[in-house]
Symmetry: D4
Subunit: 220 residues, 8 copies
């Protein structure tokens, strides 16, 4: 793959390093990219690296990567142990949202931030959310994930001071299949101040959170 151009300055330019979206890429292209980055000792995050794509990678490459099969992410040359942080907290409506929640969590970790996941607090049983609301209020930014009708976004935004980054997930069936309904519920919410990213885009939500933190904790 001679057509590949590494955007090595993206971090200094935009505050977040380039990551490799693995879907739609052939195994051959993936291997070229991994080898290139091993050679240059780059720290790299790989997202949407499917189990099938992972399994056919040569063992020598697998050994260099820290792969997580739930979130379908892998990291290269990342060894930091993170200290607890009060910057970002990840909240999910159901257990089915965990894969995407972990994509966000791993992306934050790759960038140096440890973020807890508070799961299964959807509004069908409002007490589950209310039981955890004080914990949630300790964080400066909330990444919230919900599929189906996405009512969690509106309720949460009415209860906390933190900005909500809504990640609609493709969990549901019938009219809620594919995540479009949860997406529109975030966008069309009666609670002002919700910010939205693409369906299942835990990576993008984490990137946005990092950009916010960068801007407000370092000089611009």
């Amino acid at each position: 793959m001679d057509s590949f151009i590494w955007d090595k300055d993206r971090k200094s330019r935009t505050g977040v390093a380039e990551a490799v979206l693995c879907s739609h890429k052939s195994s051959q292209d993936l291997q070229s990219i991994i080898r290139f980055n091993i050679e240059h000792t780059n720290r790299v995050l790989f997202t949407r690296l499917s189990a099938q794509q992972w399994e056919i990678l040569p063992a020598e490459l697998q050994q260099q990567l820290d792969y997580d099969k739930c979130s379908l992410t892998a990291m290269l040359n990342v060894a930091a142990t993170l200290a607890p942080s009060q910057e970002v907290c990840i909240v999910t409506a159901g257990t089915s949202d965990l894969a995407i929640a972990k994509e966000a969590q791993r992306t934050l970790a790759f960038n140096g931030y440890q973020a807890p996941i508070i799961a299964d607090v959807g509004v069908a049983g409002l007490w589950r959310l209310m039981d955890r609301i004080e914990d949630i209020r300790q964080y400066k930014i909330i990444i919230a994930l919900a599929g189906m009708e996405g009512a969690l976004f509106s309720v949460l935004a009415g209860l906390v001071r933190a900005p909500i980054i809504a990640v609609p997930t493709s969990v549901g069936y019938g009219v809620s299949a594919g995540g479009e309904l949860a997406l529109n519920s975030a966008l069309g919410s009666c609670s002002p101040g919700i910010l939205t990213v693409n369906i299942d885009n835990g990576f993008g939500a984490a990137n946005a959170a990092i950009k916010i933190i960068n801007q407000f904790t370092t000089s611009p």
Copy 2:
């Protein structure tokens, strides 16, 4: 309009009387229908009778009708004073849902049931709903109205024992314009047991409530 056929047995057959949906009807057709029913001393409910349609009706017909310009409903030969009832309660997310809420209320009244409207308890300020939740719990059936993202339906269904008849309203803009989003939020809710009718269909919600009451309070 010689092509008009009155379904005079609908009440005995289905439990709810035929009503006249006025939209898409010419003034001439409307007048024929009103006169026909005046002659036969029928009790009739007219829905979606727009201000324009109302204003060009002859005064002699207007005088026979009890018209409500907010809900766009009119009644003919209906004079009952209703006693308070614990059967149905109407709950709205915002003040913009009131026109449709009143269509439901007037339809219930036409059929003999007084139902209160508890308005403006949308989930952006959850305390507004929690303040009224005990009142709402006193009723056997809840008709809930919400536009925008319709998160009220899911939250309410998780808090009460009564069946929820959700009426999505066409209140909103951008992705929530037209009511489709609120409709899908009712259908795709994570809270089981929500029943849905068409967008802005306060009349249908009231009819369904009446059918339920009829079935369970009279012998089938």
Copy 3:
């Protein structure tokens, strides 16, 4: 799966017990949930438990569950024999709707109500429906299932006093593929008083029926 929160009070709060929607859940998560409920001797209903998910469960867990491969439901700790009941009747347009009809039937059974299925009475041969209409009229609530263009909902609603809970099914092809057409036919019906749930949501229809029965046969 440490993130799982059991909503043990849902039944007392809403009248229907929490059920487990198995789709989008990993085998590991499912096993945790099943073991948790075996330990606590909870009565539980599992829905959308696919054949693949079922087959890879350990035999020891399978033995505890009453699994039905047509409706993809399983029950834990449910042993009641039900007496015939006149509360709910399930009506289907075609034989292809049977899987969802049985999901509704099993959900009702889990909650203590026996409901018959009257199948294959779609309107292409109206006599099939008319032959059974008197039987259908014996029930207080009708759960009706139809795919394709869903004309059954409108015809049925014009013939009976009972409220109709319409379950659109994803049976069809071309413009009727996926169930959206049948869903909209239920919502947009010319017969007033039809109540609708999500596509293929037999579980939700049964829950709504139970909520209605609870409200009208027990003190609120």
Copy 4:
């Protein structure tokens, strides 16, 4: 308007004469077309000639045209009195479908066929249809019109031997607004043998009926 080309041979080529669809045409263009046809003594049908377009035509042109404000059609040089015919019958679900029904009726008349309209036999009150079904069965082709959920098409097709030409109408609101739902109900019907035309296309339905009659009553 020098760019206008009259398809004078369309009748001999396809069996139906060219008609003038007036929507999207300026008053100037309309006048040119009318004058051209007056000069050539052509028999012409004008469709979708709105009240506004009609009112601003010069009186001299209005006097030459037989305009019907309900169906928005006008005829030029058409004077035939028609004998009753058993070829085509027009059936409507509601009174709101009458404008389009009359467009079909006038188009048939322009081509020499008298067709009765049997109106207001929608399936919400099935007896209304059953009362007229023997009359309807006397005709060789049925043009059926319905808006909302269009259930009439399926029921009718299961009851008669004649081919049904379904004309979905833009009568409805919420999910049935615009006629798309009725259109899809005709296309996706469980009753085989329904033929469909565009929404509100009474003209097209009549043309198709005439083509059928032409083929089977004259040598090809």
Copy 5:
């Protein structure tokens, strides 16, 4: 499958016999239906009987059926040899439309009509259509099939006297994937008098053609 109701009078009532749509049916249900009809010596047409469904049928049932793997149709107790007929001709835009064309052809054959297929006459090479147009003009009804943008329908309808029954096919990719584009081209055609059925519905097109022939060649 005790819930199966055979509509044995459909032929006398509507002019076309009931057929069995095999998609969405389990193998067990299919076998019940086949055995039932073998026992009653019924003539039956099975449609959308997939290769997978066919292969797992017991050999004893396979031997009774005349199966065509291209059109996915099977016939039971049908042995007629048909004489050439000038009633219906089937025209396709491309070779990819042949499977659906043969579904129409086999449905016509089941009902006693032999219809030729004139294939690959799409408008990208207009001369292919013009070369065959005189042949096509010999038939009383034309069933036309096209996928992609469906331009064949409009061109053909402007060239012949016969009514066109348009069958949009799900041939295409990008904006024409699934057949919706070809469907809408048939419905929205600038050529009047095109009649449309559902996407890939060769069966329905043939049924409609038979209903037309029945009405005009036998006394009603």
Copy 6:
């Protein structure tokens, strides 16, 4: 309007000068832009300048502009008389497409190219197109306009060597309302080599034609 930035180098950079899209602009903003360009003696094309916008412009500004109410375009400081040219020809399916055809024609004229309009050659009467096909073949680029089902694009592309720039128009009703159907017919055509622009975008089609001519008749 101090926020307005004139892209004075666009012509040298891209080969086409910046034009002013007037829709969504207030009268005040329009006047600022016109005065700015009068002062700088710029040659400017204004598109989608509605009759309402035109009428409320001060007479002093109107006098400077060459306004065409059919195409809703205006030109400033453009006085060239054009010689006939064989570069581009504009073809329309119906007379209703003329406004957009003239937008393309005026945009070409503004850039120095005279292009004829060959109108009303839609495929419902194929002979109208065939009568003019030799004329059309004289041009190097064809801009084709069609609404409804847009079959003209496919037929034309199969008959000529010139590249076709398809402009779908918003002419139609029901499924063809708004131009989406004609757009998709151009994109999904079975005839290869059709190039498409946005619905009603005569301006864009002309710009593309000019870019092609610039590239091939001047040194790059």
Copy 7:
């Protein structure tokens, strides 16, 4: 309007005060709300207060309000003069986005932040953006507005460190009409870290920016 409930604690709970969305509200309801807030000397922001709604307000109420007819916002009891700030900058692709840009600007001003508008820097002329990019880089948060295809969002996000809050606007025609295309371009961008709000929701974008600032400049 006795059903109106003022959420007076929203600011302390969520960091942003309740505002009044005026669309869908009757003049009578609006007057009640304005008088209520005059009586309680509340600082209030009114959004989407149309010219028609404004003009029929009594002069005594108009005099209390600071109304801006471009952004359709009004403020009550707001007199602060703001100091320049480096927190937020508003960037627009075209001049047609200014009304929504000013809604965001006024909402920020109501909350105490002065934000400049850098307008007309869409990517059709990339130099316009590059000329201003250093200015834009001085701000901590960027609110970006674009209609049509919304390419500005992706380009900008690749050039700056600040988080981008994208406001898609309903500027465009054909496939870009209504803002859905610009919305999806923001959500589906190849540049990570873009955050999106509903179409034309300048108010929501400003609210989100304020929530971010609140969290990072005050103790949580």
Copy 8:
């Protein structure tokens, strides 16, 4: 397959030879077509010939074909070695667009034009595009490919004089899945003069480019 009609004159008529779209074709049909063309020594291009279709072709046929598994194209009787050319350049936003880029490249090669691919110059890192812009400016026509939000089309069109033929690709997820978003971004671009083909239609883009070159480099 006796129904196959070779359009042998298409090249002389339209300037581009007929190609064979292999999707939706059975192996048997494909073999017939290949053998037919081997016998007639035709030069043929096969597109969308999937790996599965390729693998089951008889070895004797495979040996005659030049198959490229990335672009899924095969050529028969094509042996030309091409000289470098300045006519067309192919530009892609990402490496995931390469398969379609190569379909365009191979189609151009089949017609005698060598075109380079400049890959991975999407706008998230604008410098990648700016680094190559002078190279790109050397070509007369640019075929640009992008998936996701397709912002490359607008930026590129503002930077070069060449006409842009935009090929939206089905690369993306969530709101950008399937290519519809990139397609609409090309159509709705703020940069005038972009020409668009169907999603993933590299073949069509190449054909259009060839038609342009043919028209301007040979006498018409």
